[in-house]
């Protein structure tokens, strides 16, 4: 075999391997839309239980994302701009929720938030119930999605030259003001992308939520519930409707990525 024909064979093998994986990833979702898409779209209007489950999912995922952004952004800044002892411990704390099985995360949360625990009991004493409430859903979502936001935010802040902050400081800004006026706007797109990923992760969570708050049912729990109670036929519209909801962050992320690329290209051509 000549070098050229050997290269051609290698290219064909790579193309087949790539196509197989892409088909494996695409076919189930396409089948789901094909088989349940219409019923799912109808269900969004007709099925009150599905509607309220999706509304609950959107509201709790949004709340969880807002908390992740408010608490995670300062943490990401701190981890990016400061060196300190015990940094590896902080890193491990942030990595762990992404590595453990989600029902395990749910069990761990239940352990500290249920009425049997000191924290759960204290919260209950002031009238705050976590387990089997929207707060429980938010807690489960936050646990599994906040590390994703912090990781994206760290990357976004690290891409901002710290000397911008230095310049802002010499121009009269306090550290906090420089962060607000310079670093956050410059990292804004990356932070927003991180928030969208975090929202998508939160809204698709099942394992931790089902342990901590089976009721009220979010969309993922409802789809599981329909499947175990009534079988595939009944679960299909719910699953398809959830898929349609998941397309929203996908589109937003693509749009953010495209704008980022065009902006970088614009800067390059301006420099040239």
């Amino acid at each position: 075999m000549t070098d050229r024909s050997r290269q051609r064979v290698a290219a064909i093998i790579a193309a087949i391997a790539a196509s197989l994986l892409l088909l494996f990833l695409a076919v189930p979702t396409i089948a789901l839309v094909a088989r349940g898409g219409a019923a799912g779209a109808r269900g969004l209007f007709a099925d009150a239980e599905l509607r309220s489950a999706i509304a609950l999912t959107v509201i709790t995922a949004t709340a969880s994302t807002i908390i992740a952004v408010l608490l995670g952004t300062p943490l990401a800044w701190w981890l990016t701009r400061r060196t300190f002892r015990g940094r590896s411990i902080v890193d491990a704390i942030l990595d762990l929720p992404l590595l453990i099985p989600h029902p395990v995360a749910g069990i761990a949360l239940l352990l500290v938030l249920s009425r049997g625990s000191p924290l759960g009991a204290a919260l209950l004493a002031v009238g705050v119930r976590i387990v089997s409430t929207p707060l429980g859903i938010i807690a489960a979502m936050l646990f599994v999605s906040a590390p994703l936001y912090v990781s994206a935010a760290r990357e976004a802040i690290a891409r901002v030259d710290p000397r911008y902050e230095g310049v802002a400081r010499t121009l009269g800004d306090t550290e906090w003001r420089a962060l607000r006026r310079v670093t956050l706007p410059l990292a804004g797109r990356g932070l927003l992308a991180g928030a969208v990923v975090s929202w998508a992760r939160a809204s698709s969570e099942f394992g931790a939520i089902v342990i901590l708050a089976y009721q009220p049912r979010v969309a993922s729990v409802l789809s599981y519930d329909r499947f175990t109670s009534y079988g595939l036929r009944e679960a299909l519209p719910v699953a398809a409707a959830l898929l349609l909801v998941a397309i929203v962050p996908l589109v937003v992320l693509r749009a953010l990525g495209a704008r980022d690329r065009s902006r970088i290209a614009g800067e390059r051509s301006a420099r040239a």
Binding site: R163, G166, R169, T170, L171, G172, V182, L186, R271
Partner: protein, 345 residues
């Protein structure tokens, strides 16, 4: 406002800014000269307060500001890469740290950037960016202006124009300037006081004229651009220094009129060496026959590398003189310099 650094020490990974000291008088133009990686930017950021030193003190206007936040130091900094805020247009960049709109107008007028105000910073040329960065610094009405290689990205005409602009600013407004650069010419043109920084250490600091006239060491002389730095052993004879370096004996005046002996360095400016076809009757105490090793330079000045009995010397002559001498590689010439042209350090 005076700038005083005393024994400023800062470790940064493997780099160490080692007990750096320097002084710039109020309203004067201070220059720190050093090669890339010598710690110039770190030194400047320490004055700005962006980096906190591990040891030593920074005084501005007599007050100890070592632990004072950058925003309360009354300094402004211009980096080589301008670092304009990319999310703001030019006018917002200039107004960023301004205390009044009058200060903005003044800074814009000084730098002549009126026509750029509505532009986005990513559409500016390198020279325009530096002007905007300077305007942004000026509009915050600093008492100390810190410049980190501000002209490095500019072409020669713009560089000269901006040099004049900053010099005029410093003289007319009484702003104290601390400017770091690797460019000896720039340092020579601008500096009232000069510090030579090498591998994190200030080798010498003081009045610029004093440093150029009397470099404290061979390394300082080298960094100040002296072409001929020769090591040798000195002895005194008839009140003059006789320095033996290789096969050469060089005559020099003793520094400060004091006798000296032992291992020293002689520094001879390349422009102090005169060349001629025939041995000249002159007052020059040092006259040798040399062989031309290389000739370079396309401008008004020609650099001539010589071999004098095994010792390399560099002379600089005008292009006209080079033609008159019919200099060619391998040809023999007579090289001479006065004893007063030799600086011993």
């Amino acid at each position: 406002m005076t700038i005083t650094l005393r024994d400023v020490t800062l470790r940064q990974g493997t780099f160490l800014l080692d007990r750096a000291s320097l002084d710039v008088a109020a309203g004067a133009y201070g220059v720190v000269l050093g090669a890339a990686g010598s710690g110039k930017t770190t030194l400047l950021e320490t004055v700005a307060g962006i980096r906190a030193p591990d040891g030593g003190t920074v005084h501005l206007g007599g007050a100890d500001v070592t632990t004072v936040a950058p925003e309360r130091r009354g300094v402004a900094m211009v980096y080589q890469q301008s670092l304009l805020f990319p999310h703001l247009d030019v006018s917002r960049n200039v107004a960023y740290g301004a205390k009044s709109s009058a200060a903005v107008d003044d800074a814009v007028a000084w730098t002549g950037i009126e026509r750029l105000l509505s532009r986005f910073v990513t559409t500016l040329s390198g020279g325009e960016q530096q002007l905007v960065a300077l305007a942004r610094a000026l509009s915050s009405e600093p008492r100390v202006l810190l410049l980190d290689e501000p002209f490095a990205a500019l072409d020669p005409p713009r560089r000269a124009a901006m040099r004049r602009m900053i010099r005029a600013l410093q003289r007319e407004r009484g702003i104290t300037v601390l400017h770091v650069t690797h460019d000896v010419t720039e340092a020579a043109l601008l500096a009232d006081s000069l510090a030579v920084l090498d591998a994190g250490r200030v080798l010498q600091h003081g009045a610029a004229t004093a440093l150029f006239a009397r470099p404290a060491s061979a390394r300082v002389a080298e960094l100040l651009g002296a072409e001929n730095v020769l090591a040798g052993s000195a002895t005194m004879r008839d009140g003059m220094v006789e320095l033996r370096t290789g096969a050469l004996v060089i005559h020099a005046l003793p520094p400060d009129g004091e006798a000296l002996a032992g291992e020293v360095h002689a520094v001879i400016g390349a422009d102090e060496i005169t060349l001629s076809r025939e041995p000249k009757e002159s007052s020059a105490r040092n006259a040798f026959t040399a062989r031309v090793v290389a000739i370079s330079g396309a401008g008004a000045l020609v650099r001539v590398e010589l071999d004098v009995s095994g010792t390399p010397l560099v002379a600089v002559v005008t292009a006209g003189a080079a033609r008159e001498l019919a200099l060619a590689t391998g040809s023999a010439v007579h090289a001479a310099f006065k004893a007063t042209a030799v600086r011993i350090c």
